[in-house]
């Protein structure tokens, strides 16, 4: 962690350990270089990418959360990025972990977060021609 702070002095916004889980929050401009560095440090497995809508009137409104793991040792780290309410976008990490492909499509599909330089950013779970982003907090539970 110290090394990380030295390498990316401006990237880290927050570092916390809660219930034994380590979380770092980083600025979105640094996500690619930081993930590249983390992969070189042994985090070779991307467990999950998840989106969160922090609330309709919040700024930052969206969060993209990466859960990364070292395989086979099983050391885990959570990387968070905050995104603004309007046109949330972030660099795709598909070049670092191929598994990011579908994860990012899912976050795009359900939250409307754009992943730049993604090879095929299309909806994945909802049907073709679907409108809206179901997991946003202003999307009604019973649909539109």
């Amino acid at each position: 962690m110290e090394e990380l702070r030295e390498k990316f002095p401006e990237a880290l916004e927050e570092h916390a350990t809660h219930l034994g889980e380590e979380t770092i929050t980083v600025k979105k401009e640094y996500i690619l270089s930081l993930c590249n560095y983390l992969k070189s440090q042994g985090y070779n497995f991307l467990s999950d990418i998840s989106g969160v809508d922090l609330g309709v009137d919040k700024n930052p409104r969206f969060q993209v959360i990466y859960h990364i793991t070292t395989v086979p040792a099983g050391k885990r780290l959570r990387v968070k990025v905050n995104l603004p309410p309007d046109n949330p976008s972030i660099d795709s990490v598909t070049t670092i972990w191929k598994s990011a492909d579908w994860f990012e499509r899912e976050v795009f599909d359900l939250f409307g977060v754009t992943f730049l330089n993604h090879p095929n950013l299309t909806r994945i779970l909802t049907p073709d021609g679907f409108e809206g982003y179901p997991l946003r907090k202003d999307y009604p539970l019973r649909g539109r």
Binding site: H18, L19, E21, T23, N44, F45, L46, S47, D48, S50, G51, V52, D53, I65, H67, V71, P72, A73, G74, R76, R78, W97, K98, S99, D101, W102, F103, L110, R123, I124, L125, T126, P127, P134, L135, Y139, L141
Partner: protein, 395 residues
């Protein structure tokens, strides 16, 4: 000669599914073929999307529990367990040892029955009809054991936040014991039918190969990754529910093909049986629920007898309980790989965000790399060997 020069070849695009018996549900694969050889295989998913993550945000923590076993109908107890572990971690609940051991026993029984269904249907896909009839016989007994314990065969919702719905009945231990006593001879039956079977070997050896590096890069986990030689099992690397108290091996393969995945899963069933044997031997007595009246409802007998207990139960089930603000990601080893629940709480009685990392969704991404360059008929073997459950892929 002139006419032959004018002929041209082009790729043929065919559609497989979503209604196709060997896709194990509603999976659609767009295949691009050059003759019989697959050039590209693109899975199209989402036909079974039910919005479980959105739905869970509108329910209390207890009410969201039955949604979790509907993700993966072959591993209901492991899905329940993973969700409960995540919520229990947020609540910092202490789970009594008996409940932990019972959770291990039920998880391993779930793994065996899931692998049995996989084995039967996978063999059926490739053309071996008989194994299905054998594996479903043993699976039936496991489902009967689930029914005995929790009252339900498939969507059990028996594991609850804080422990269990109730303790297992007295018969439970003897039923499980007689099952694990007979199981090794049953395993010999399956192996006798398949392992050295010429047709089986021809259809599976060298088919659907993936390397360890590529598998990790594509997010492959569970038996499919272990078949490439990666010795990674969450029960060992991030032990939960007292798995660190049992000794068992992690079987691995070397070639990363369909045949190795078959061997790894067979050996896993043996290891699961071994874990169950150890757990039964040392099964502690005592309560099966944590001591926390805010979260754990009173025992059913009291609910039937006293009005206070009835109100108490009603309160917990309908209004729920507040969970301290925070976020956790809890992974467990499901029969298909890493199953993870990310739960974010804002301090209220409903999950603010519930994200489910399902192994089938991620493993399916490897389908294309495994199938390219093989014959059309091989894709059926490859889909079967990844062992996907579409309810879990689409959520």
């Amino acid at each position: 000669m002139e006419a032959a020069r004018d002929l041209r070849t082009e790729c043929l695009t065919i559609n497989m599914g979503p209604q196709h018996p060997s896709t194990h549900g509603v999976l659609r694969v767009i295949l691009e073929l050059e003759g019989e050889v697959i050039v590209k295989a693109t899975p199209v998913i989402g036909h079974l999307h039910r919005g479980i993550e959105k739905l869970a945000e509108s329910k209390t923590y207890h009410q969201a529990l039955p949604l979790t076993d509907r993700l993966d109908y072959l591993a209901p107890l492991i899905n329940n367990l993973c969700y409960c572990l995540a919520v229990e971690k947020l609540l910092s609940l202490e789970i009594p040892p008996r409940a932990q051991y019972l959770r291990v026993i039920l998880s391993e029984l779930t793994r065996i029955q899931s692998h049995l269904v996989w084995l039967g249907t996978h063999a059926l896909d490739i053309g071996a009809m008989t194994p299905l009839l054998y594996t479903f016989r043993e699976r039936e007994e496991i489902l009967n054991i689930f029914e005995l314990a929790g009252g339900s065969r498939m969507h059990t919702s028996y594991t609850r936040i804080g422990g269990f719905l109730d303790d297992v009945p007295e018969e439970f231990v003897s039923r499980v014991r007689s099952f694990i006593d007979i199981f090794p001879t049953r395993m010999k039956d399956y192996e006798g039918l398949l392992t050295k079977n010429r047709i089986w070997m021809n259809r599976t050896i060298g088919v659907g190969v993936i390397t360890a590096e590529e598998g990790i890069d594509l997010g492959l986990s569970g038996p499919s990754l272990r078949a490439c030689g990666v010795k990674w099992d969450i029960r060992k690397s991030n032990p939960y529910t007292s798995y660190d108290q049992f000794s068992f091996d992690i079987p691995t393969g070397t070639h990363g093909d369909v045949y190795d995945r078959y061997l790894v899963r067979l050996e896993e069933m043996r290891q699961s049986r071994e874990i169950i044997r150890q757990a039964l031997e040392r099964l502690p007595s005592g309560p099966v629920n944590a001591v926390n009246p805010k979260v754990v409802p009173p025992p059913k007998e009291r609910v039937y007898e006293s009005i206070e207990a009835l109100i108490h139960q009603f309160h917990i089930m309908v209004e729920g309980f507040d969970v301290p603000a925070g976020e956790v990601y809890v992974p467990v080893e499901s029969p298909r790989g890493e199953l993870g629940f990310y739960v974010k709480s804002d301090g209220r009685s409903k999950p603010y965000r519930l994200k489910i990392r399902t192994p089938s969704f991620v493993n399916l991404q490897s389908l294309s790399s495994m199938a390219v360059g093989r014959m059309v008929a091989d894709i059926v073997a490859v889909i079967g060997s990844i062992d996907i459950v579409l309810g879990e892929v689409d959520r």
